[in-house]
């Protein structure tokens, strides 16, 4: 019986050039390699799906990267076909493709639309070209506008725009300008990230070498963060996860699965799956994947009940609505307060968590230092 829901994630580890802050598994590649990779994806799906598909109904598909939109559109749609051929899809299945401005045109978008892609996610990051250059982005704001207008024209009405605060040299005023400009476009969804200096990125090397980066001060950075929610709220965008905002009913179904411990199957090099409380992380090795996608190497992590309960909390608390006591009890057969009561009451008393009787969730003050608090939810 196909009543359990499943998300499918397809990883495309290619991009035109690597941005200085990016720590995702991705690298530039030639067209031939990319086509081989898309073929390999189809082979992997065809071989793995029969073991999974029977129990599930797929209600979200997400092409992430990298930049899925730089691959050949027909090739990419073959991958979608492979999914269609192997899985049962729900009628309202959310199908998202991540796009970079300047890598899409009307023709490409029409092919996506035609195949049933329902949602696009554009990596804009900033409306200020200086900031874009600083980040190593390959596009200007004008390029973005062209892509965005093309998408609207093609009929896409469920679009996300990624923007970034905390960029070197950025002021709170410059950030508000980015926010207001994006808001005027009325996308269904906005992801607003604080720049994080991740290990192993060129940005981190610059930082460690002592180069002056002119990063906004912590106070400015937090001002930008809190401005985001209040400014977006003016136009009806709800804040539903630490970095995600949407119009009513337009939350990203696929991503919500990650935070609520839904099940998902990942295909491609570097993709992760979580099925029946086992996490599978496929090796981040593109040539090996192309060579033998059916036997691609992966690591498994079998999650214990304690792992699952910890994840329930530290992922669930990323959502603004927080974690729900009933759902915890139904999932684990235990009371949340018997497991985490001490930590919850400690941080409720300090004003970092709030408790409305049903749900536990972060206060504004709590979000700012959420890692510090979430660490205490590990068992």
């Amino acid at each position: 019986m196909a009543n359990k829901k499943l998300g499918i994630y397809i990883h495309i580890p290619f991009c035109k050039s690597k941005c200085i802050y990016c720590d995702f598994f991705s690298a530039p590649a030639d067209g031939h390699t990319m086509n081989k990779y898309l073929e390999a994806l189809c082979m992997q799906i065809n071989s793995k799906a029969p073991g999974i598909a029977a129990e599930y109904e797929v209600d979200s598909i997400f092409f992430g990267g990298g930049t899925p939109s730089i691959t050949d559109a027909a090739g990419l749609m073959n991958v979608l076909d492979a999914i269609y051929n192997n899985f049962n899809l729900s009628d309202d299945c959310e199908i998202t493709i991540e796009c970079n401005p300047g890598t899409t045109d009307e023709e490409k978008l029409a092919i996506y639309k035609e195949k049933g892609v329902s949602r696009l996610s554009f990596g804009l990051q900033s409306v200020n070209d200086d900031e874009l250059k600083m980040l190593g982005r390959i596009h200007s704001f004008e390029d973005f506008m062209a892509s965005y207008e093309a998408a609207a024209k093609t009929g896409f009405d469920n679009i996300n725009i990624d923007i970034m605060s905390g960029i070197p040299g950025q002021t709170p005023a410059a950030w508000r300008k980015t926010l207001r400009t994006v808001m005027m476009l009325r996308p269904a969804h906005i992801s607003a990230y604080s720049l994080i200096i991740e290990d192993g990125t060129p940005l981190s090397d610059m930082y460690k070498s002592g180069r002056k980066l002119y990063l906004p001060s912590e106070d400015d950075e937090r001002e930008m963060y809190h401005d985001t929610a209040s400014i977006l709220a003016e136009s009806g965008y709800g804040h539903y996860e630490i970095s995600n905002y949407s119009l009513a009913g337009r939350e990203c179904r696929h991503n919500v699965k990650y935070w609520t411990r839904g099940e998902y199957a990942g295909f491609g090099a570097g993709a992760s799956s979580m099925i029946k409380n086992v996490r599978y992380n496929t090796a981040k090795n593109t040539p090996a994947f192309i060579y033998d996608p059916v036997h691609a190497e992966y690591e498994t992590e079998e999650l214990t009940v304690n792992d699952c309960m910890s994840e329930f909390m530290f992922l669930g608390l990323r959502m603004m609505r927080g974690v729900n006591r009933d759902r915890f009890r139904v999932t684990f057969g235990r009371q949340m307060d018997n497991v985490f009561g001490n930590v919850i009451s400690k941080y409720v008393s300090t004003g970092h968590l709030a408790d409305d009787g049903d749900n536990i969730f972060f206060t504004d003050k709590g979000i700012d230092v959420s890692n510090y608090i979430l660490a205490d939810f590990l068992l």
Binding site: Y9, H11, F24, F25, G64, Y193, S194, L195, I196, E218, D219, E221, R222, I242, S243, N255, K257, Y258, W259, Y264, G266, G270, A271, S272, S273, M274, R279, N281, E301, S310, E311, F314, L315, R318, T350, H352, I367, D368, V369, S370, N371, Y372, I373, L374, A375, D376, L378
Partner: protein, 604 residues
């Protein structure tokens, strides 16, 4: 073994300033005398604890017996007693010297005489040892053997004209040293038929054999079956085995007679019964008088040792018990701290001894420790006439009950080239030194004498000395006694709560300065937490300094999607581990190393 001819025995030690090549020369002597093949030699055989090899110093006395066939065709027995090389162990050094007739003085051909050279030579001369100098490192480009010889004659007043010129490292002229040992150092005396008297200069504990006593037989003879008595402790035991020291092994023999150096095993359970400096005699036929010079050594420096994880208290206790089996000078007793829970107040001969014990506990016993700042022993004279030895600052009585306090002081000798005399004198003044005089040595170098409070030198004095003299100053000290002083207790409050383990005793006039620096240091050490944390220094109820650790402002993961979860979870786990390594005091988490902050209040 048949009878040994006393006239063919030489008991000697090697004395030197640190790094002048003492252990290297010992290695060469052992190598040249053929008790070991070159292949068996590991560098610096006598320093056989890992720690000693790493630090390049000798901690416990080591002894080896070797046979040398001299140029006169005779075979000589050499007993080389390697002495500890640090002022913490001065008493042990003096007992090792008392076991010898002679000493080889090693002086670096480039550096010449240093403070420790003098201290060691004077100690050897005090013990009536025959001393002859050896000039080492003559193959260095900067070597000036003639100048150094003159210095030795002028400053120490011993003949140096025909001192062997050697390189211990490269094995140059080692034969000259061996011949000089034969011809310049006297043979031991003593009557093998007289009542037994033997000097204990070290002992070790072996879990199979019990205590193994290292001794020098002054008079009489000891053999298997002799019932021995330790004259100071009164302990008695029957000798199970006697023998001498091969390189790295014990070699049993029938008897040890007057003039020889060797070991005695007698099923003794505790090194406390065999204190260094005590006299062993025959319980059935005791000697009239114990040998002179015995004293019970008292710990000079105390600190609290706590298990980082309270659950390991018993492990720490076991480890201390085991270490004490081998180290009678280690003292410990249980104590409790509000901040740190259950632990021990431990006493040491000095800061080096403390560090060694701490490292051994961590390495050999795998313990994670929180160490509180070391303190010297203060004498608190109360108004009711009683006197307390204060080893833990938080036990200081209420000021209204204190008449006056005394602190330990040392006689310090610092040797430095004349250009740094000003800087060093300034340092000694800052450290409350009392100037005692200065002598110039051959015009360019000075020997400066000060009386200094021990608590001013146990922490970072040596480092300060080195940095203010560009590494040229050398330093040695002797305990002098106690001196009245204006002292007070400085308390530290973290988030308005007093942290007992951070209190320390300080000279009244330095209290403001030290309090301020302590607050600054703690501000660096304590990570930002969810709320603002005031750090205050106080004397009694009076706050004298304050710093603030600002609240944590931002610690948030912007992104966490499917592919990130494993990695992000590891980050959170690391964060959780970090929290575990901190001590919860009130609602503040204090890192373990913060409890040592007082040690790092560097002056410059």
């Amino acid at each position: 073994m048949s009878h040994i001819d006393q006239s063919k025995v030489r008991n000697f030690c090697i004395i030197a300033h640190i790094d002048h090549g003492k252990s290297t020369l010992a290695d060469r002597i052992i190598e040249k005398t053929g008790t070991l093949t070159s292949r068996e030699m590991q560098d610096q055989i006598l320093d056989n604890m890992d720690l000693e090899r790493e630090r390049g110093i000798t901690i416990k006395a080591q002894t080896v017996r070797i046979v040398y066939k001299a140029k006169d065709g005779e075979e000589y027995i050499f007993n080389l007693i390697d002495t500890p090389g640090h002022v913490d162990f001065n008493y042990e050094v003096s007992r090792s010297l008392a076991a010898c007739e002679g000493a080889v003085l090693v002086v670096d051909a480039a550096q010449g005489i240093e403070a420790q050279t003098l201290a060691n030579v004077y100690m050897a001369i005090d013990h009536n040892l025959e001393v002859f100098p050896v000039i080492n490192k003559i193959d260095l480009p900067s070597a000036e053997p003639e100048r150094v010889k003159e210095e030795i004659e002028d400053v120490i007043g011993i003949e140096a004209e025909d001192a062997p010129l050697i390189s211990a490292k490269n094995g140059i002229n080692i034969e000259d040293v061996l011949e000089a040992i034969v011809h310049k150092l006297p043979a031991p005396k003593g009557d093998p038929e007289a009542p037994l008297s033997a000097l204990i200069f070290d002992s070790i504990y072996d879990s199979y054999k019990g205590v193994i006593v290292f001794c020098r037989i002054k008079e009489g003879t000891v053999r298997k079956g002799t019932r021995i008595r330790m004259m100071a402790t009164g302990a008695e035991a029957d000798v199970v085995e006697v023998g001498y020291f091969g390189a790295g092994q014990f070699i049993a023999c029938d008897e040890l007679s007057a003039g020889l150096v060797g070991y005695i095993m007698a099923s003794i359970k505790n090194v406390k019964d065999t204190r260094v400096g005590d006299t062993i005699t025959d319980a059935m036929n005791p000697c009239a008088e114990p040998l002179p010079g015995y004293k019970k050594v008292n710990p000079m420096v105390f600190c609290g040792l706590y298990p980082a994880d309270g659950a390991h208290y018993e492990d720490l206790k076991d480890a201390l018990e085991k270490l004490q089996l081998n180290d009678a000078s280690l003292f410990y007793e249980p104590e409790t701290s509000v901040a740190l829970g259950f632990g021990f107040r431990c006493g040491f001969l000095g800061l080096l001894h403390l560090e060694i014990i701490q490292e051994r506990l961590e390495r050999e016993y795998n313990l994670d420790l929180v160490t509180t700042a070391p303190s010297v022993v203060y004498k608190v004279h109360k108004t009711d006439g009683s006197v307390i030895d204060l080893t833990n600052p938080s036990n200081l009585p209420d000021p209204s009950e204190i008449d006056y306090m005394e602190e330990p002081v040392v006689d310090a000798e610092i040797m430095v080239t004349s250009e740094y005399v000003g800087a060093i004198m300034k340092l000694c003044q800052e450290r409350r030194g009392e100037y005692m005089g200065m002598e110039y040595i051959e015009g360019t170098r000075a020997l400066i004498k000060y009386v200094l409070p021990l608590n001013e030198i146990i922490y970072d004095f040596f480092d300060a000395l080195k940095s203010r003299s560009r590494g040229y100053a050398s330093f040695d000290y002797q305990m002098k006694g106690y001196k009245q002083s204006k002292l007070c207790k400085l308390d530290i409050l973290v988030n308005k709560e007093e942290v007992d383990a951070l209190s320390f005793i300080v000279f009244e006039e330095s209290a403001y300065e030290r309090g301020r620096k302590m607050c600054e240091k703690l501000k660096e050490e304590i990570p930002r937490q969810l709320f603002e944390i005031p750090i205050q220094a106080a004397i009694g109820s009076k706050i004298i300094a304050r710093e603030t650790v600002k609240a944590l402002r931002k610690d948030v993961l912007a992104k966490c999607y499917g592919g990130d979860i494993s990695r992000k979870k590891k980050l959170l786990e690391k964060q959780k581990e970090g929290k575990k390594r901190m001590r919860q005091v009130g609602n503040v988490e204090i890192p373990q190393k913060a409890f040592m902050s007082v040690l790092k209040l560097d002056d410059e």
